[in-house]
Amino acid sequence: MAEDIANSGTLPDSVDTRLPPKDAPLLRIDAVEKRFGGFVAVDELSLEIRTGEFFALLGPSGCGKTTLLRMLAGFESPDRGRILLNGQDIAAVLPHQRPVNMMFQNYALFPHLSVAGNIAFGLKRAGLPGAEIADRVAEMVALVKLEGLEKRRPDQLSGGQQQRVALARALARRPQLLLLDEPLAALDKKLRESTQLELMALQRRLGTTFVIVTHDQEEAMTMADRIGVMESGRLEQVATPRQLYEAPVSRWVAEFVGDINIFEGTVEARDGGRLTIATRDAGAIVAAAPRQPGETTRICVAIRPEKVRLSRRGPVADAVEIGAINRLEGVVTDVSYLGGLTGYTVKLDDGALVRASMANIARLDIDSYAAGQRVVAWFSPDDCVVLER
């Protein structure tokens, strides 16, 4: 349901360049609920994941991501609802019989086995002949670029190498579905970024369906075809990274994913595709009306910092007059130089603080503003998202 709302958001369909293959769902999670005592860890959650998709579960700590993954792997059983894999209910199927493999957050490598022994573990259980096991291990070792380390034990490997072994071990059985629980959390930023790209390339090459858990939104956005944002055991929104960022369905999602300015207000006038909103502390703002207009008039307008532009004089007055541009005046109070971007905080004359970020497209600071300088912050109504409060 959340997905429908996202699809019918303010975003034109053409911007979505990363649509996953339109196959039948591999996995269907149907109103699944999991309680620990009285505490609801996963709350009537429904989700469909397609074959070959790279799906990310994103959410704050303790929202139930691991619990959901463990239900898919079979280590926890849902209290209510169904989990269907290829159309079949897998409630009664034990973990070792599911065509699903999991890469554990702490890797859970067998310390008494070598790298090759770890990778071969699941293959031996599957009863493959020895020669085939050797071939498959060699293939996996090459896949995760661990050549020459086959005989090492896990405690003789670096964190990044251990993570590759865990990945190879989980992939060796050629699962239909691979679950990854924060696989990159233990790696440093550089290694994490390069591993993200490797994982994506690997997933494309193998065509395996990946479900990855992360609380790093950049990671989710980089890798996933679609992202499910979870909060307190529920899915707030399921969407492509772009839809999630540009067309969040709720104020919570808008604030959780990326940085955003939010102005609370009430709808003052409705004029075709335009809403005029009287905000509490930023004057009147014109915004594109959502395609599915809500009932409430108490709403908020959200705008991402990079869509707010600053200038000394501002756009031509005519455009403001006809409602084609929002124009807010204020004083720069804070400047933070971040290399590629510079972040500004502007205190509006009406009281609100607005954050704007501008790409540093030139080496010299001809385009920058100093604290205390009067500026005009302006943005298009099409870049605003109207959300319920």
């Binding site: 792997a73 079979g74 280590f75 973990p95 999991m102 702490n106 251990q162 071990r169």
Partner: protein, 271 residues
């Protein structure tokens, strides 16, 4: 370790020497006198292996030694099985009702006076009308040593990462196989240490064995004790030296095994 870190002063050396003398002087004297050629325990008559020879010709002593050895091997094996199972159940059973009570009850026999354990077992065997002998002593020793094994194994299990077994299940093992594939290889040193500890305890025990044994099936400690009551023969010194040798070997092996176990444990801990 600590001694290496801080300096060995003269005072420390003296204190150490005194402590170790207190602990080991009696044993050293016993060992030396076991090689005494003289028949009188208090008179040194030169080196000799005569008393060792006497022991190996004393049929009653040899029978008692054989009995002790059999009891130790059988009871240690049984205690290791039961103790390991108890440890697994307690650390894996989740937080079932009365779990704390059960683990408390497992530890209680550790501090129970042996006289009480022995007496209660005797009463049980009498009530069951069991013929007292090898089996009753073996069962009694299993009861005594099983909780030691459980404690050793449980502490090892507690430090193990549970997700290893889940990983094994994920990779195609049913729960029982997962236990044998992922957990047993990591706890076997602790299990082996428990077995050796049980062996040593069983070889040592006098009190419980004398409560539960029957006529004609004395263990070595019982036999020695009854001989000593008639006066200390130098032959006893020889036997005791042999026992000390065996027990020392077993203890050293057990501590090596548990060292190996915890070394494995460090590498098992994730990152």
């Amino acid at each position: 370790m600590a001694a290496r870190a801080s300096r060995l002063t003269r005072f420390n050396i003296a204190a150490l020497a005194l402590g170790f003398a207190f602990l080991y002087l009696p044993i050293v004297i016993l060992v030396i006198y076991s090689f005494n050629a003289s028949k009188l325990v208090t008179v040194w008559g030169g080196w000799s292996l005569r008393w060792y020879g006497d022991f190996f010709n004393d049929q009653a002593m040899l029978a008692a030694a054989w009995m002790s050895l059999r009891v130790a091997l059988v009871s240690a094996t049984a205690a290791t099985l039961l103790g390991t199972l108890a440890a697994v159940a307690l650390s894996r059973g989740g937080h079932f009702r009365g779990r704390t009570l059960f683990s408390g009850m497992l530890y209680a026999p550790l501090v129970m006076p042996e006289v009480i354990t022995g007496l209660s077992l005797l009463l049980l065997f009498v009530a069951l009308d069991a013929e007292r002998g090898f089996w009753t002593v073996t069962i009694a020793h299993t009861t005594l040593t099983m909780c030691f094994v459980a404690v050793v194994v449980q502490s090892r299990l507690g430090s193990l990462d549970r997700s290893l077994e889940e990983a094994a299940m994920d990779l195609g093992c049913d729960p029982v196989r997962a236990f044998f594939a992922a957990t047993v290889p990591l706890i076997w040193p602790a299990v082996a240490a428990g077995w050796m500890l049980a062996c040593a305890l069983s070889l040592d025990d006098l009190v419980i064995a004398s409560f539960t044994t029957g006529p004609g099936s004395a263990t070595l400690p019982i036999r020695i004790y009854s001989e000593v009551r008639l006066g200390v023969k130098p032959e006893i010194n020889a036997i005791c030296t042999l026992i000390i040798g065996v027990v020392t070997l077993v203890i050293v092996a057990a501590s090596l095994a548990s060292k190996l176990s915890s070394a494995r444990g460090e590498s098992a801990a994730p990152l």
